[in-house]
Symmetry: C2
Subunit: 670 residues, 2 copies
């Protein structure tokens, strides 16, 4: 086998000093599961690799009938039908025995990765006493990979799924599956939600062979393959004159096509659909609503157990900047809220975390509190489209935690976003969480080495939403690098402060969008101000911000009480979202006692300063870092500092020029 | 022959009612010129076509020996060695005879086109009494065509010179040559000044055959072919480690290469070079100055009579927007002024009309008054990169006239730009005028049908700089369309007001650059404000404009007196350039009595209104226009109106928001 040109990230098992002798783990007793099952095969390989490297001794499987699952030495893997489908139990059953029980092979796989993580982290195995199951039924990655090999909003090289119109299935496909299974991901969409050209043909026979192969590799790691679908396929592939979801000939075409797809790829999980969004075709074209579009597909694929994941990113992207009544933030709720209860059981609405588009600070989408009888999935984006593009460091797990713990007041309790997407709130089964992935074929997978913490963190958080950003970061650091406690603390500081730093030097107080149009990196305060995208800050010489209260666009009223009132009043609106909800004068005092304009100046200078501190901390631990990693990250930190300086100076200069108000501290503004 | 898919523009000879019977012109007597000379052949064909169509009777050539050039009936073409090289004389020598005399075949050709023009315009031939020679030695088109067939800043389709890495020589090449010869163009650069890829190889044997063919067609119309040159050719083609112009091996390489080129293409006129400009390689890389670079090439090609046309578009395109000392406007003068007298006789500096880059309003480049011992050529741009991109109507001849009549005060008299580029001021021979061309393979050549008036006008003006924009427009209209006097007046109104209208709704008072970066169409007030291109308006809540006086960047001091003082003082600075030279407060009163801000509001509303009037006038003459032309122009006028509205609203809103000053007339500003 060729030498791999890619790293193993957090699965780069290293010899670890454990507090006790765990060599008994090299004896594996398998009970109730077949050694030949693909998932068990992969589990055993992983144990071989992991235990072999961590403990420095190769494990071996002992025939289960020797001990009937009651061995007092070894790692005993045993079936327990009581446990939930993907759950597992890890228990110290004796001085020299650990029991891993699960009801399914997937549970065994997840339990195994948990055990290996504990070993890697040198955690105490005295009494692990873990009994866990994932909170989210679907834990999904959305890759925006195009079939030519490019990746929309990809910052880590090219696709490892596609090249030149062909599908790639190789050793890296397997490592990818291992990596994401180890953090609990169970579903993957491999192609861009914007489906065009050859990608439309993924549902034809043309790519059946490699897709089946890929889906089988994935299935061996408990992962279901999904595809993004072109709603206009009946026209583009079937030569039909329309793709009206209520047209019988269109439905017949889909039935025929879907029979073929599921015949070709029996493991296929279903489809992700971006319809009526940013120029993509959809039911609106035919005067049909979103439910009619989604349900048509859902009914067609129901016999195969397929899911339709329907994105709610529907808004008018041809807005007139002069128009202050239309509010893009309202669009998701306005388009979907009234259809609550109309979607089929195997349809899931995939809702972006905020009402706009993955800005560094947005309120949580009101749709989460706006639908009581609809399957919902949260969509976040670890691809750092608006958050530094894997040049600037931005550990996003703190943001995700905030989103998940947001109370929707849709019920008296169990009403957070986490509750809703886990299915707890309404007792539904088809729910979950998805992220736009941040991977590519760069050797380190994520371009910025530290951006792998977002991939790791997403998976871990999707499984257990009670984990803290700090716990997750510590886990990731320890498994990825071998550092002294002090050095690890520096990396931890970098990760945990990075989001705040990025927010400080970019757009202030939730207003967003002060970014270069089209490439979305670097500042352009007015870049979207006179454009068609519904993204305005409305700054003038007196103040800045959008009035989204009951006196403005009324967006705040899309929330349940007390959120609606809380956002509606500038006194109670969380300050970090002040300019999202309110137009505020530059001389208005914030809670800190500072004026708004002074806050803008201060936070930007501070963000730029702290960006420099990121670099200093990285330099301080140079000696402990792998030789290739240190300069690779350093180069990005340098680019981040330049970017932070541009942001700081441009935003401050813009507001200084428009307001005419001097910085109290007399720093240079241009 | 296939039906032509392109029009004949102003050479679409139509039957014309002449005031007297001119049928005697069908007898052509050729004396002193050989019927076999390519230029004479083409002249006779043109007479055949033109006289045939205009008078409706085919002309025939009578052997000259029959009459010894003293025929008393017919068009007598006769040699007169006294006349200047490209000049001619047209004289009524009798009731039934006209004499066209010239010293060269080119003179005959130009005289013939003059005669045909007079016939087309139904001008009196009683006593034409024309004795003319072109004012500018070089009258040149610069095509920015790439070898893949695209055209940089091209708005009229694709290249008719190149496609897919190959050169096109066909029937259209000949029509192109006819068209431009008819307006006096005598030199053409066919490839983009940014030379990359295959275009670098135009000087190798690879394209020798089609280039020779093309140059022969051109030569048949008195046109010399020029090529744009890649200064880094010794590296890219010759595999040399450097292209240092003082390196003997580099010089040897050029000598060898140039011998080949001139062997291959004996008619070749020379080379246009963009060096050390916007990322193009040049002598600066090797610590050499511009003269050292240009002279090296000039010496190498001198034996072949070749010219080096060296562009002066050298500036720092990586400026920091924070830096208020560096002034891009200064760069041309700063980079070239001190080298006056150092350039070889066969080097011509090609200087853009303004110090920036083809904005709708700029002062004339101070370089024209800054060099006494250097060959200079004026470069203008009829490709409407910043002036509406052949969507918006913008007849540029009035602008060119202003530039040409600008007094440089380099001498007491004969000191205008026209004087300098014609060679009158300093008695030099290698001078002239060039324009970036606006043609492409669109059926109508220039995308917007009315943009052909810029091509026509450029040629006519280059020949005779005393012509007025109105005379030229009238000529063009009459030769292009068959209109009633009223309808012709409407088209004339459209042309003559178009520049002012465009200026009114775009960036105010000479400040420029409020345009979308990269595509250069449509408004973006801050689009270049925080960028690296040296193009800033510096607007804040009090005022706008760049201080280029002696208290600012000192640019005004690059002019000779009294210009320097005139520009330096806001009281004497021409108001249309006020913001180019001065920072002005919004409440400052202009000569009209209006405040600056009110002027901005008024001119923008007015420009938008007048753009609508353009359309009304076009609609009013619908019945008289060719069926294909009317809707093609109408569609562009509609796009112009949308564009004008965007400009008007964005510029007004920007200045309203930043200044907080209300429009006195209470119109809607956003």
């Amino acid at each position: 086998m060729e030498k791999k040109t890619w790293t193993q990230l957090w699965l780069d098992y290293k010899k670890t000093k454990t507090s006790e002798d765990l060599s008994f783990l090299t004896e594996i007793i398998l009970h109730g599961f077949s050694e030949g099952h693909p998932v068990i095969q992969n589990t055993l390989s992983e144990l071989q690799l992991g235990i072999g490297k961590i403990l420095g001794a190769e494990p071996a499987v002992k025939p289960a009938d020797e001990c009937e699952g009651k061995a007092d030495r070894g790692l005993v893997i045993i079936k327990d039908e009581e446990l939930p489908e993907e759950g597992y139990k890890l228990k110290r059953t004796g001085q020299e025995s650990v029991m891993l029980s699960a009801s399914t092979e997937k549970g065994v796989l997840y339990g195994t990765f948990c055990l290996l993580r504990k070993l890697s982290l040198a955690e105490d195995l005295e009494d692990p006493d873990i009994c866990t199951a994932p909170e989210n039924p679907l834990r999904m990655l959305n890759h925006w990979d195009n079939m030519d090999g490019s990746i929309e909003r990809g910052y880590s090289g090219r696709s490892f799924f596609f090249n030149n119109g062909e599908i790639i299935v190789n050793e890296r496909t397997r490592d990818y599956a291992r990596l994401i299974a180890s953090i609990g991901i169970n579903a993957v969409v491999i192609n861009n939600v914007n489906v065009f050209g050859e990608a439309t043909e993924l549902i034809t026979g043309r790519y059946a062979e490699p897709l089946r192969k890929m889906s089988e590799i994935f299935a061996g790691y408990g992962i279901r393959l999904f595809l993004s679908l072109n709603f206009a396929s009946p026209i583009e592939l079937g030569n039909l004159p329309s793709c009206d979801p209520l047209d019988p000939s269109v439905i017949r075409w889909w039935e025929e096509q879907m029979r073929t797809v599921f015949d070709n790829i029996p493991n296929l999980g279903g489809f992700l659909v971006k319809a009526d969004s940013e120029g993509r075709p959809g039911p609106f074209t035919y005067g049909r609503n979103q439910a009619e579009g989604a349900n048509m597909l859902a009914k067609v694929i129901k016999p195969y157990g397929g899911l339709v994941i329907w994105r709610c990113f529907v808004y008018n992207c041809r807005q007139d900047w002069r128009d202050r009544k239309t509010d893009r933030a309202r669009a998701g709720y306005d388009n979907f809220h009234e259809m609550d209860g109309q979607f089929d059981e195997n349809v899931i609405l995939q809702i972006k975390n905020g009402p706009m588009d993955f800005q560094i600070r947005e309120p949580v989408s009101p749709l989460f509190g706006g639908m009581l009888h609809t399957n919902e999935m949260l969509e976040v984006q670890i691809a750092q489209e608006y958050t530094g593009q894997q040049i600037d460091l931005c550990y996003l797990i703190p943001m995700f935690k905030e989103i998940l713990s947001f109370r929707t007041y849709v019920k008296e309790q169990e009403d957070t976003v986490a509750d809703i997407i886990s299915g707890r709130t309404f007792g539904n089964r088809n729910t979950g969480i998805a992220t736009v992935a941040n991977t590519g074929d760069d050797s380190n997978w994520t371009g910025h080495d530290l951006a792998a913490a977002n991939l790791y963190g997403f998976g871990r958080l999707a499984w257990d939403m009670n984990l803290t950003p700090e716990e997750i970061a510590k886990e990731w650091i320890s498994q990825t690098y071998t550092l002294s406690p002090d050095a690890a603390k520096n990396v931890l500081w970098m990760l945990l402060h990075s989001r705040e730093i990025y927010e400080d030097y970019t757009s202030p107080l939730g207003i967003g969008w002060m970014v270069n149009p089209s490439n979305h990196y670097g500042p352009s305060v007015n870049g979207y101000e006179y454009d068609r995208w519904g993204t305005y800050h409305r700054a003038d010489h007196l103040g800045v911000g959008v009035d989204r209260t009951d006196k403005g666009t009324g967006y705040a009223q899309q929330y349940n009480e007390p959120n609606a009132s809380m956002y509606n009043d500038p006194q109670t609106c969380p300050e970090e979202l002040l300019l999202f909800f309110h137009r505020v004068l530059y001389r208005t005092r914030l809670k800190s006692g500072k004026t708004l304009i002074q806050h803008i100046y201060d936070s930007h200078f501070e963000g730029y300063e702290k960006a420099q501190e990121l670099k200093k901390r990285w330099e301080s631990i140079r000696d402990e870092l792998p030789e290739d990693v240190y300069p690779r990250v350093l180069e990005r930190l340098d680019r981040q500092i330049s970017n932070a300086r541009e942001w700081c100076d441009q935003v401050n200069s813009y507001f200084y020029r428009i307001s005419g108000i001097e910085d109290e501290k007399g720093r240079t503004i241009y």
